[in-house]
């Protein structure tokens, strides 16, 4: 019985991921309707109606040509909401000028550099362009020799842990956004 549960869950999740992948990344911004009326409740028979006209097309599975030539510069073509939907934005939101802005940040362990891309007045991408954090050797605990041996045997490219916070990047993002407001 127990294993059935696991297999069923794996099956459902697999089908879900495939369904979304196949549908492509088209997000129809429903808030376009929200601004004109109090939304668009659908009667169950009306299931062909898709709320909102402002379809946000993502580059789905067709290859989006990357302009970069070498390491580490690809840019997701995240297309944020269309202009019509951004008018529904709350007034408190800061208005940014379209463009790409750089920001830098440092902490005792190193520095980071990033670019913030603004499209349609909204943040569309935050790209880390340089990230050099050199943690002091003392942080790597010498008490576990077993660990050290393993570290030398294998290349550790990746770490699983509780969702990392973006705290280290806050200063750099702030700096870039200040430029975008100017």
């Amino acid at each position: 019985m127990a294993s059935k549960m696991g297999k069923r869950l794996i099956g459902i999740a697999g089908v879900a991921v495939t369904a979304i992948y196949t549908a492509g990344y088209i997000y129809t911004m429903p808030s376009v309707n929200a601004q004109t009326s109090s939304g668009m409740p659908l009667s169950p028979t009306n299931n062909n109606t898709t709320p909102g006209a402002a379809a946000t097309a993502h580059s789905a599975h067709t290859a989006s040509k990357s302009s970069s030539t070498t390491n580490s510069t690809t840019s997701p073509k995240k297309k944020p909401s269309t202009s019509s939907s951004s008018t529904a934005a709350s007034s408190s939101a800061a208005k940014y000028k379209n463009g790409t802005y750089t920001g830098m940040g440092t902490n005792p362990y190193g520095s980071i550099a990033l670019t913030v891309t603004i499209a349609h007045g909204k943040i569309s991408a935050v790209h880390i362009t340089n990230w050099s954090m050199h943690y002091p050797q003392s942080v790597v605990d010498p008490q576990l020799p077993q660990e050290v041996v393993q570290m030398q045997t294998y290349q550790i490219y990746i770490v699983s842990g509780a969702t990392a916070s973006t705290y280290n990047f806050a200063q750099a993002v702030y700096q870039a956004l200040q430029k975008a407001k100017a």
């Binding site: 697999g14 997000y27 529904a88 990746i158 990047f169």
Partner: protein, 306 residues
């Protein structure tokens, strides 16, 4: 294996740091296109399922309780998985916890730092039972006002979609703030070696796993603390409203990140006594670290340990 190309790229997405490392024999151009598509896919999930974006389909749905709403496939499927997990854990996992998280100060946009106020009139207690999915019409009915939070599922889904885009690479590792998907070979041509972060000392590993073609997700209490309340972190029990104690982290391996993410979150919420038993009942490998730093794991996890 000498002519393997190695390309890596990092963005801030979904409230965390998202990196993709790709290894391929094909031209760097092709790999970079695949990476760009993978980030597109993740942006798309964030745009539709985020609690922090007032234009998201999730927030739009929450603005219309007591009405049958058509939602994008991505939101419908994510809700479906979330509800499956809720039933399976008898509500220890619950996507209606958004308002509780917001009330505990988990309400800032990670890029601008602006407070996000959903203005959901949710004084009534809510649970996953107040959500009805209509499979035939792909509509969702929220029976009471509520703020959904799909953080524990949507990030995993984003990683799974990204993995599909990268399928042509000989190897890749997607890291969405500790939620991983590993495929093929690492840059040296080996299986990927994953460090499991020490919960108390950053940059120190508590153990290592060797794995490939799987997702590895860790739910832990040590990165996100409530700015308002002492002793509160972001993993809150839906029924008691308290942060969970007893465990510092729970790592789960699964064929898909959406599962690894959901199951590790649910296991963490179930607590030290029931976490391993729960994951084992799903026949997935799990590794728990207790608040006394004891490492325990299921039998199935042992073979991944280096």
């Amino acid at each position: 294996m000498s002519d393997l190309q190695y390309v890596t790229d990092t963005y801030l997405l979904m409230g965390t740091v998202v990196s993709i490392q790709a290894v391929s024999r094909t031209e760097a151009d092709v790999v970079q296109c695949a990476i760009a598509r993978a980030f597109d896919a993740m942006c798309f999930v964030e745009e539709t399922c985020s609690r922090f974006n007032e234009h998201s389909a999730l927030r739009e749905l929450c603005r219309h309780p007591e009405q049958s709403m058509q939602v994008p496939d991505v939101l419908f499927e994510t809700l479906r998985i979330a509800l499956e997990m809720s039933v399976l854990t008898d509500g220890a996992f619950d996507p209606t916890i958004g308002a509780t998280l917001e009330a505990n100060g988990f309400n800032r946009d990670y890029l601008t730092g602006n407070v996000v106020q959903s203005d959901i009139a949710s004084t009534e207690p809510v649970s996953y039972r107040d959500i009805t999915l209509d499979e035939a019409n792909h509509t969702v009915l929220l029976q009471k006002p509520m703020l959904l939070d799909l953080g524990a599922v949507a990030k995993g889904l984003a990683v799974d979609l990204a993995a599909r885009e990268l399928a042509e690479c000989d190897g890749f590792a997607i890291d969405a703030g500790g939620d991983l998907y590993l495929h093929g070979v690492d840059p040296t041509g080996d299986e990927w070696t994953v460090g499991i972060q020490h919960p108390l000392e950053k940059e120190r590993m508590i153990c290592f796993l060797r794995a490939t073609n799987v997702a590895v997700c860790t739910s832990g209490s040590y990165e996100r603390k409530s700015p308002l309340k002492r002793n509160k972190h972001h993993l809150i029990h839906p029924k008691t409203g308290d942060s969970i104690t007893g465990l510092l982290s729970c790592t789960v391996i699964a064929p898909l990140a959406i599962l690894a993410d959901a199951v590790s979150t649910a296991a963490f919420v179930l607590g030290a006594d029931r976490a391993l038993e729960f994951v084992e009942s799903l026949e997935l490998p799990a590794l728990c670290i207790s608040d006394t730093l004891d490492v325990t794991m299921t039998h199935a996890m042992e073979r991944y340990l280096t």
